[in-house]
Amino acid sequence: MSVKVWIAGGGVISGIGMNLEENLQAFKDMRTGMTKMQYLQSVHQDAFPVAEVKADNDTLADMARMPETTSRTALLSLIAAREAWKSTGLGDISRYRVGFVSANTVGGMDKTEDFFKAFLPNPGGGRLQQVVHHECGAVTELVADALGVRHHISTISTACSSGANALMYGARLIRNNIVDIVIAGGTDSLTRFTLNGFNTLMILDQQPCRPFDETRTGLNLGEGAGYVVLVSDNLLAHIQPWARLSGFANANDAYHQTASSPDGTGNYLAMKGALDMAGLTPEDIGYINLHGTGTQNNDVSEGIAINRLFAPHFPAMSSTKSFTGHTLGASGGIEAVYAALALKEGIIYPNARFRRQMKELPFAPATAFSTGNDLKHVMSNSFGFGGNCSSLVFSKE
């Protein structure tokens, strides 16, 4: 019998709020985060709406108590990770065996792309300070050092499923008795690199995105960070758990470097594996936080896999990316916090801008915010480039 792993708290910063409470209020008010680009400098400023965190780097640096030259990826990470830790009431972090497992896909690219302007014409040009934290792992260490975490530190990067894999790995570190607590999740800031990359793939919507809608034409990029605090059963007496991480699975679609297989093989295997580990059947799931990017390809593959696994008992489901945009490496972390909070408060999150039923699917996402639902088990999906698919199951007890 594996050790139980509890969610003792969480923190989020995203395009819809600077902390979890603000995020929740945005869902209640149906206020989505996509706007015209304000903080990222790009020639595509007017072409693509994005869900930016509504603060410049100086403001974020003040909040994080870090130098303003710090990569935005690290600033977002520290703000959310501190909120997560504080919410647990566990107090002095140095009293515990704690790990920090953080996912990201861009690292310090926000600074590197500025550096390259001066560096390209002249190999001696550009300030080295801008690339010193280029590596994904360097961003994690800035935050781990600020939090005072030393027992275990790692960084995972599996594209859009990174954050979910951070939770899985964190839970396994606890079950293998390497640490007792793991702050797990992900962070990513918006960069020109990712914006232009997704643009070349022609999967960015020029309108606010419409996940799981027949008229969907792509995703909106977002940014942010989200962390849960995973706690071993042996510390249960010290926390008031929001939920338990009862199941998880990671599978590979092995179909294409960027596209999902038409029948969603990897998606199905991940969801099925997570249910199996939790010892649940599909009917037990009360809500699914969808990967739901809003691209043609993702939503149909994910939907078909859900249909195959859940028909005819479809739980409530929604893509919170319709509010936060696709925050890439952060999304699995942010959505895990939402999922754990959903169990704590019986929340079903709305899927914004859903109007037209997808013709391939027999179900539709929830469109209104509701609270007080009797939820016992919730699923969160994260699927990504490289075929990486992960699903998490959270349970109330």
Partner: protein
């Protein structure tokens, strides 16, 4: 549970993809940046794909295949990759075009292949492997974390064979930038003189090494992965020394049980100091072998070190090119590898002959 190394594969600046005694055709360099020797990738990848793949992806796919061939498996139950830098070449290509073309007329290929999980994803894709797939990107712990993850998965009983490895590439841009940080020697150094060089800086390297791990011994198995340990930003050398003692105690070993010490000396006098201190404190008379003069310095060079240690156990001999101090004993059973990257990321791996 014992975890056996059933197969290994390595692509590096040495002729490690060839069959034959370890370093029998030693590649000696007189330069500051070493590049991996390309094996014939056509044996694993079709020509059309080879042209599209960056070097780091090819190295990864090649080393993964070599390790599976040796282990005699066609399909692992998990693929776990460790890479500090990821796909630097494609990142550089996309970044260069994005900046110089002012975000216009870009094509997707380089971006698609720039994500850190490209290697793990490509291995899965080529094998048609739907199993667990993860990529660790934590600087000097990327490879160690992939081994730790592999160990945990095997202990959990979720997998019977795990493919785990570490790899990094050095590119034109990364070499230029890292040089500006003062990481490398100012003038070329001969391979066999690097570890005795009297000044700061090392040589840049790259490579990929993969391992097939399993709780069941295979036909070519010579060693067991007995332990992995990381030490993050130790406050002083005493902390490292203490961790080594604790690590060996956890394996029920004494210092005398270690037959060979393998260290990550890289020829930078400041960075090599701690190896001196550790050897002086714990292993004053132990034979010591080294590897970074052969593969160069990079965050996942430990994977090359572990690959070499496994081969040393297989051959029960330390090639002269790798020997740093003393003489290898007649029987090489327990090999302790101690490496650090940049003074901040220290790691231990223990291999036991079986």
């Amino acid at each position: 549970m014992n975890i056996y190394i059933n197969g290994t594969g390595c692509i590096s600046p040495q002729e490690t993809a060839q069959i034959g005694p370890l370093f029998s055709t030693l590649k000696e360099y007189d330069q500051v940046r070493l590049q991996a020797v390309d094996p014939d990738y056509k044996q694993w990848i079709d020509l059309k794909q080879i042209r599209r793949m960056s070097r780091v992806v090819k190295m990864g796919v090649g080393a993964a295949n070599l390790s599976m061939e040796e282990a005699g498996i066609k399909m692992p139950d998990a693929i776990i990759t460790g890479t500090a830098y990821g796909c630097l070449d494609d990142t550089g290509v996309f970044l260069n075009k994005m900046v110089s073309q002012e975000e216009q007329m870009l094509t997707p290929t380089a971006f698609i292949q720039s994500t850190h999980n490209t290697v793990g994803g490509q291995i899965a894709l080529l094998l048609g492997c739907n199993a667990y797939n993860n990529t660790f990107v934590h600087r000097g712990f990327s490879f160690e974390n992939s081994l730790l993850d592999a160990t945990m998965i095997l202990r959990e009983g979720e997998a019977k064979t795990v493919l785990a490895g570490g790899l990094d590439e050095i590119t034109h841009y990364s070499y230029q930038v890292l040089s500006r940080f003062g990481l490398y020697k100012k003038a070329p150094v001969k391979t066999m003189e690097l570890l005795k060089s009297p000044d700061r800086g090392t040589i840049a390297g790259e490579g990929a090494a993969f391992f097939v791990l399993s709780p069941e011994k295979g036909t070519h198995t010579v060693a067991e992965l007995a332990g992995v340990c990381t030490i993050y930003k130790p406050l002083w050398e005493g902390e490292v020394i203490g961790e080594i003692v604790k690590f060996l105690e956890a394996q029920d070993l004494t210092l005398e049980d270690i037959d060979l010490l393998v260290t990550g000396r890289n020829g930078d006098i400041a960075q090599d100091e701690i190896y001196e201190e550790v050897a002086a404190a714990l292993f004053p008379d132990h034979p010591e072998a080294c590897f970074k003069h052969l593969c160069g310095e990079y965050p996942t060079a430990m994977a090359f070190g572990a690959w070499m240690a496994n081969r040393i156990i297989a051959e029960q001999d330390v090639p002269e090119a790798a020997m740093f101090y003393g003489q290898a004993p007649a029987r090489i059973k327990n090999v302790l590898i101690y490496n650090h990257h940049q003074g901040t990321h220290h790691a231990l791996i223990l291999l036991k002959a079986c």
